[in-house]
Symmetry: none
Subunit: 139 residues, 3 copies
């Protein structure tokens, strides 16, 4: 199987909190970061996710935002620090590769954002991902 | 009203499950595929969605991922098989047209993903769409 | 046609920048805020969006994040200040209504985020929306 989803980081489920239709699943990534995924309760049940489950977190590149520093007071649960390793600029969009503890992330952001944040290889950044944008797969 | 949202596939609601804030709505598309949309409960109530409602499913191109085969053990509820009919490559992103039973989907994915998956016209693929990325409209 | 998409704010296109696959469209909302939408170039062409076009910006609630203050050094282009008018807490998710200049936004965020940010009616917040999450409609 090959997926277009660029960002696939393995981890272990540390907690599952079920609502009536949605659930939040906390995952400790191999790099030690803790992330939260908001997925349907149905998916949690069908895939049997529970504390201790080995999973792969999947994040589409267009769902990754980039900040030049950690952000306090933000509803976005997932903030993963890293270092920019590559920037490719297109006509409207840009692709930014970020090396993080335990893996690599690709962020598809606007060309304007790359210019404003002066993103270039070597820059320290924080990748931001809203919980509703994270999918999980069994391994 | 015309929408920039490229993917609009008609269907019939087969089930609605309400939480306190969110609701999941199952829709059978005209091509026979069953998809799940996670939308706000408020939207369900205001638009009166119930079993039997005719709806249009709306999916932004940037929310469609592509796989070369069906994926087991994945939290992404919606997996629609199809055939690539066109690929346009830009500087950072690419647009992939996928013919599916009953319609057509456009996926905006990274240029890198197109290369890795060797996507070209005629390729068999599966379009993947997270439930939280699907909106619904009345018809 | 009625849409499940909760956030629909009218505005006028102020600039269109076309890439090969994607385009960024800047829109001045009726409240005066300037937002950026990253949509496919195909949509821009088919709908004829150009400087001066009247549009409606569409944003799914699950795509709206909330911050307690404006954030510097962030790739997220769209930061709209406002005031919380209502918070509904579910089992896993929460819905937050934010009154902004010229309209209202609904954000579907995790229940945990609401607790961490101590969001309640009257709180000053900033709604954050990634450009790739904004769709446009003709009016």
């Amino acid at each position: 199987m090959s997926l277009s989803i660029r960002n696939q980081i393995p981890g272990i489920v540390t907690a599952v909190k079920a609502g009536e239709v949605m659930a939040t699943v906390k995952v400790r990534l191999t790099g030690g970061q803790e992330i939260t995924a908001a997925i349907t309760l149905e998916a949690v049940r069908e895939l049997g996710f529970a504390e201790g489950s080995s999973v792969r977190t999947l994040i589409k590149s267009t769902e990754v935002s980039v900040s030049t520093a950690a952000v306090e007071g933000l509803s976005i649960r997932n903030q993963i620090p890293g270092t920019v390793t590559d920037v490719v600029i297109g006509g409207a969009m840009a692709s930014v590769k970020i090396s993080v503890e335990g893996g690599e992330l690709t962020a598809a952001i606007t060309k304007d954002a790359v210019a404003d944040l002066q993103l270039a290889s070597g820059a320290s950044v924080v990748a931001l991902i809203k919980s509703t944008e994270i999918s999980l797969a069994t391994v």
